[in-house]
Symmetry: C2
Subunit: 396 residues, 2 copies
């Protein structure tokens, strides 16, 4: 048995759905398949747009119910296509196979899936077509799983049966760096869960961090591959299975970055605490914080937030009313990150980065490092140049 | 408490949904409302079209799941609009309030609805927004209720609480005859269940016969009214409540009519039986059957079927292989029907009909009568003329 997942661009029209059904017919001759699908193309965005015509702040219970129908459309159509060519297939929504979630609307996590029900359906069918991105809470309400939710559904189903999970997408694997940025980018054959989570968290678009995290927890081998292609993709697995370790695994560029600088502010902890506690209560996720070394009455502090939180940041500062300080928002910022296991333990990487910055006259705003990554915050206009130079330097 | 139902044309865009939400806000100040909605505009047709791009004969379980999502879209959006203007409202799908059906796909009937669950939701909310047209079967699969299914959902909900049901549509009531055919058509203030069922069965488009039948069974007063209008509509109720009885209540024109004539056929019952039993097994619903009086080896027989069953009729005759007979299909046929309680008991109506046909040189193919109606099968080109003459004669 295997679990397959097809994303929105792989099922964006009826012809693509029919092509997938033919492929599934072939593979289902040898083994049972659970296939998870996303909504067709831009369907979910279109539904959200309708809600936003009413209000930009819709009731989240109802928004979840609305957003869930795109996947139901796809499972019905794919099941119609499969049955039409003689495959025993059945569509299943979250309530039908009891995909239970933690319950928060628009960002639930999967708590459990009923294996017995799935086994019963697998006895009677060759292909189960499951709606991704959705689950039900304890009140039997529809909840959605947030960005990349269908990947999470697929990995969760694979974990139930301890089988491999194949994520089919419109690219043929995970690359060391976005090939649109650096044409010599190399495809990664195998990558550890840790590195992939870090890459995903730092903005590499192909997989969402939560799905990888779930794979990590239940040790599900995740293959990222191109739909209907024989090209070998990328395997995400535990680091114990990876023989050869590379210094640097990949580079991500994250443009969803906004730099907030507050000048002329008292930088004692008690003065800064209200800013970050209010930001937290507004749901703003704060990344790298830096302030000049000397704590003083008129110091300066800077931090990074997602650019998509701009409205929340404006709310934050109108609530705080920092009368004597200057707040500067810089939206033309990018975060370039190098990811690799044990990178920080190897000498010379940071110095190589500084040499590249200096030799090419690239100024930076912030640099931070963690066990798995080094991130450099630069002007957005310099992000691609820097990424290419790093990719060349580290042979990615 | 009341039950409201808004049809597809009343919720065809976001603005209309918002207007309905404002109206519901006003009325929900005085009483609790259960509102049933259809899919937005042509949504269901568009979904069926997608399925038909795959096959004209889709798996009915999957087709039902597909067709059900239009209503889920509407309930979510209407609930978002209601909550946005401060109304305590909640969207509910068939599984959430246990609308159980008989189970056949695409044409289920409602078996039961869980009153306790509804009461619980009514305690916590002022408006319940229920998806029409859908129910779940014993296997927890989505099933749909066939044409006019949302009306049936509304009447069933009204019957659970023994309250009135208001069907809001784009016309302001039931007319004695389609106003597009006869501009002096009169609106009917009150009509009995029997007459309305007969009118609906004979093709008057506003209400489906099954919803009226359910109202009849549980004595639900059904008001057919125009959305967001103060104009008084039509009340459908039991005949005991109707004081003044009219000779003729209304006229319907049904163009979904195909006349099949078989010439040169043995018209003994044993020869005809295979035709009608095979038609029945193909699901062709046969209306008025007529044959010339003398049963003979080379007689002739004619009957009426829905024009939409043309493909099935062709299948019927290719299966039957009536080698010596001529089969003539006439698609340019209409059935004009007069409806009224106890009509057949009053003398003179049939003779008036014949006088009109004769005076105006209108030929007819068949005439049939039942307790509640007289139907005249004529050329489609004559249907409107005949209807107008009848409307004038019977002061409709």
């Amino acid at each position: 048995m295997k679990v397959y997942k097809y994303g929105g661009s792989s099922v964006s029209d009826i012809e693509k759905i029919q092509n997938i059904s033919k492929h599934l017919k072939e593979v289902s001759k040898n083994e049972k398949i659970i296939v998870v699908v996303s909504a067709m193309g831009k369907t979910t965005n279109n539904l959200i747009e309708k809600a936003n015509m009413i209000t930009t702040n819709p009731n989240v219970r109802e928004l979840d119910r609305l957003m869930s129908i795109g996947e139901i459309e796809t499972i019905s159509l794919l099941s119609i296509a499969l049955n039409n060519i003689g495959v025993k297939a059945i569509s299943l929504t979250a309530d039908q196979i009891s995909i239970k979630t933690t319950g928060e609307h628009t960002k639930s996590r999967i708590k459990s899936i009923d294996k017995n029900i799935l086994e019963k359906f697998l006895e009677e069918n060759d292909v189960l077509v499951v709606a991704g991105f959705q689950g039900i809470n304890d009140k039997n309400e529809m909840t959605t799983l947030g960005r990349g939710g269908s990947d999470t559904t697929a990995v969760a189903l694979a974990s139930v049966f301890s089988v491999d999970c194949h994520i089919y997408t419109d690219v043929d694997g995970i690359y060391t760096i976005d090939p649109r940025v650096y044409e010599n980018a190399k495809k990664i054959d195998v990558i550890s869960y840790d590195e992939m989570m870090e890459l995903a968290y730092l903005g590499a678009g192909v997989m969402e961090a939560r799905a990888v995290e779930l794979g990590y927890k239940y040790l599900v081998d995740i293959y990222v591959e191109k739909s209907l292609s024989d090209v070998k993709g990328t395997l995400i697995t535990s680091k114990e299975k990876i023989m050869e370790e590379k210094e640097i695994t990949g580079i991500s560029i994250n443009n969803n970055t906004l730099m907030v600088t507050i000048d002329n502010i008292a930088t004692y902890a008690k003065n800064l605490e209200p800013i970050f506690s209010m930001a937290s209560s507004l749901g703003i996720s704060i990344d790298i914080i830096s302030h000049n070394d000397v704590v003083s009455d008129n110091g300066s502090i800077a931090f990074i937030v997602p650019r998509t939180d701009l409205n929340l940041v404006n709310t934050l500062f109108s609530n705080l009313n920092l009368k004597n300080s200057n707040v500067i928002l810089n939206e033309k910022i990018s975060k370039v990150s190098l990811v690799g296991i044990g990178m920080v333990n190897r000498v010379g990487i940071m110095s190589k980065i500084f040499k590249i910055l200096a030799d090419n006259n690239l100024s930076f705003h912030q640099i931070s490092s963690s066990e798995l990554s080094i991130s450099i915050v630069v002007e957005e206009s310099n992000a691609k140049t820097l990424s290419k130079l790093l990719a060349k330097e580290f042979n990615l």
